[in-house]
Symmetry: C2
Amino acid sequence: MTNLTLTAVPHLPHVQPGDNLAELILQALADAHMALADGDVLAVAQKIVSKAEGRLVRLADVLPGERAIEVAAQTDKDPRVVELILRESDEISRLRPGVLIVRHRLGFTSANAGIDRSNVAQSGDEETVLLLPLDPDASAARLRDDIAARLGVQVGVVITDSHGRPFRLGTVGVAIGVAGIPALWDRRGEPDLYGYQLQHTDVGVADEIAAAAGLLMGQAAEGMPVVLLRGLHLPITDGRASDLVRPKEMDLYR
Amino acid sequence: MTNLTLTAVPHLPHVQPGDNLAELILQALADAHMALADGDVLAVAQKIVSKAEGRLVRLADVLPGERAIEVAAQTDKDPRVVELILRESDEISRLRPGVLIVRHRLGFTSANAGIDRSNVAQSGDEETVLLLPLDPDASAARLRDDIAARLGVQVGVVITDSHGRPFRLGTVGVAIGVAGIPALWDRRGEPDLYGYQLQHTDVGVADEIAAAAGLLMGQAAEGMPVVLLRGLHLPITDGRASDLVRPKEMDLYR
């Protein structure tokens, strides 16, 4: 029977800057009597990767520039947060009161450059926000390598975030970091059920994994940032989330 | 432990026009000793819904109009297929040799209005193509109601298709029909891990289900068009895939 099981890894401690994520995840798996096997995929919410990598910024430390002050006025946002959004972005895609959509330096288009105050502990006046990992593909590869070194097991890793999207309402999980599996699975040329050659079937498999994991991670109080997927049978390969970024000149959908 | 299991329903027969889909699916589930339970969700590939509903069109029966002939020349496509695409669409979004992206009459934007030759049996000169279901939300509701009537079990149904998308490469599963669960899950106002009120967290949960199911359905020779998801704990409600269509005036991402 073709089966895919997703299990949220329980009892993961709150992640702190400097934590070794592989260690924390493997400990939580061991505590839950869950053993990793070759071919398993771990979906890891961006937030805990960013926290472990110390991507927290105290807003009190941010001095907004002129451009940030101007954009903050146009979007009704905190100029310090806008300053960080601009630093993390290549260009502004859309702005409007309450809305700031940018092309992130990592290539994808998202609201607020993925910068978020939710699920970040605030202590008194020490308001902090969390930036995306500096290089989530590298973060994913590190996690995969750490796990291979500690357990001798080859897993895939997908670092996930939630994005809004054009044409469709609702956020969905997307892959912003990938290691050990294809991000984009080129199935062109495979015969279909009736022997026809398929044409356009590059599957965004890492995004489908991120979306599936999103069903368990929830967005809120549950706080289950790591999901183990078993049963995918993907080729072990070196995909990257950056493979999923559609070059502007190929973007006929817009 | 928080668990989500996806199981592809095996041994589903090739679906023919006029088939009762609920009957076929319940028979295949029974043959596989799989019992449905309240809260289960069935993800069903659009193709078998369309086939059961007789949405096959013989190309020999299609007379392309002037506009179709013109667009076919611009896109290097079969004028008869283009005629069908135009009939199924409200407007052309982009065209270019090899590419015809339209806003489907159902509201979403996709290539070729979802019309496909793959996985449609061709007999001699009888070339046929498959249109999307006339009203996939209604198809989903019918399937849910049929199952409730036969088994007394309340399931959710998501009719899925694969779409390309702006900004990102690769197709992913999306929901084009929904019944019995929310399509868009409004989780605004729920507190996050640290007690903050979340803001923009309308989750495209039906799309995440479709993407997850896509991981098992494959696109090609596997031919596993029905996937059972268990463990979602979604509210039983009357969502529709049309809830996921972003109104043009709200589309700041484009």
